[in-house]
């Protein structure tokens, strides 16, 4: 089931893979997610981004995008929307050290988003347990929306 409404990250914590158990190259379980206008706008408001391209359909139709789109950084939401509660990205204490993302086409309200994701690498540096994760988001037409990777420090 989608974890879209679960806010208690201690739930299912025992089911999540630890650094020792994470296998680089092994696909992560993912779940399709229907991106709603409300979810786009909730994310936008959380970073104070009230650009009419995300809020005003009449305006957005006059732009090259021809309708409301999601901002490029919507993958911040999609990462959690497209993974189940037992995914290790939710382990309490997971520290985000940095990320890089490339953008192809925008996500739009009503898109059904799917994710292909895996741990790409893991290593120990300065006594810290790192995992690099690798992700590609697609829309319902199997078009790439964006791709990216992130560096996380895992809880010991």
């Amino acid at each position: 089931m989608s974890a879209a409404t679960e806010s208690d990250f201690w739930k299912d914590a025992d089911l999540r893979k630890t650094w020792d158990e994470i296998v680089p190259g092994e696909p992560r379980e993912t779940v399709p997610y229907v991106l709603t206008l409300a979810a786009i706008q909730r994310y936008c408001r959380s970073v104070g981004d009230l650009n009419p391209l995300y809020f005003d359909e009449a305006y957005a139709r006059t732009t090259p995008w021809r309708g409301i789109i999601a901002p490029p950084s919507i993958h911040i939401l999609l990462m959690f929307a497209c993974t189940p509660m037992h995914d290790w990205m939710r382990s309490p204490g997971t520290i985000n050290a940095g990320q890089s993302w490339s953008y192809n086409i925008p996500a739009r309200p009503g898109d059904t988003i799917t994710l292909q994701a895996r741990a790409l690498d893991k290593f120990i540096k300065k006594d810290r347990l790192f995992v690099i994760h690798d992700n590609v988001f697609f829309n319902q037409a199997n078009e790439v929306i964006c791709s990216g990777r992130g560096w996380t420090i895992r809880p010991s």
Partner: protein
């Protein structure tokens, strides 16, 4: 929004939005991102040690920096007909409730390829003390007008 190519020049500076961080903005970002890690919500949890690191209290999501940088770039790009193509960032210091952060960018280089025009930017986010809390680079595209 126009499709005119207003060529940015290396050295051109862009100022992003100032963003005052509170427990409420952090909670809003939890709801916006569905990232409810106790790092951002639970002071008791955050009084513990994380390896060598002690935070002493809740911290802002690192990805809030990412969202603010994106907002700065798209606010700059959309009126110029530009497209945001890539952003790479590293978090350098935690951001806490009570801090005020602001992203900045500087045009670093331009390059024209067979099909399009590209601009690289150096990115940083600083807090109210002038400390750099995030650093990175972005790549944006100014597609030529359709023939």
């Amino acid at each position: 929004m126009t499709a005119a190519y207003d060529a940015p020049r290396p050295g051109e500076a862009i100022e992003g939005p100032r963003f005052a961080v509170t427990r409420e903005t952090i909670r809003d970002f939890c709801d916006g991102s569905l990232d409810y890690n106790p790092l951002h919500l639970d002071d008791d949890f955050m009084r513990g040690r994380f390896g060598k690191t002690e935070f002493g209290g809740v911290i802002m999501h690192g990805m809030t920096n990412f969202g603010l940088i994106t907002r700065m770039l798209t606010d700059w790009l959309y009126p110029r007909g530009g497209v945001h193509r890539r952003l790479e960032t590293r978090w350098l210091a935690p951001v806490r409730p009570g801090d005020c952060i602001q992203p900045h960018a500087v045009v670093a280089a331009e390059k024209t390829t067979a099909r399009s025009r590209w601009v690289s930017l150096d990115i940083e986010v600083r807090n109210q003390r002038g400390e750099q809390v995030a650093r990175g680079e972005a790549l944006v595209e100014f597609p030529p007008p359709a023939e």
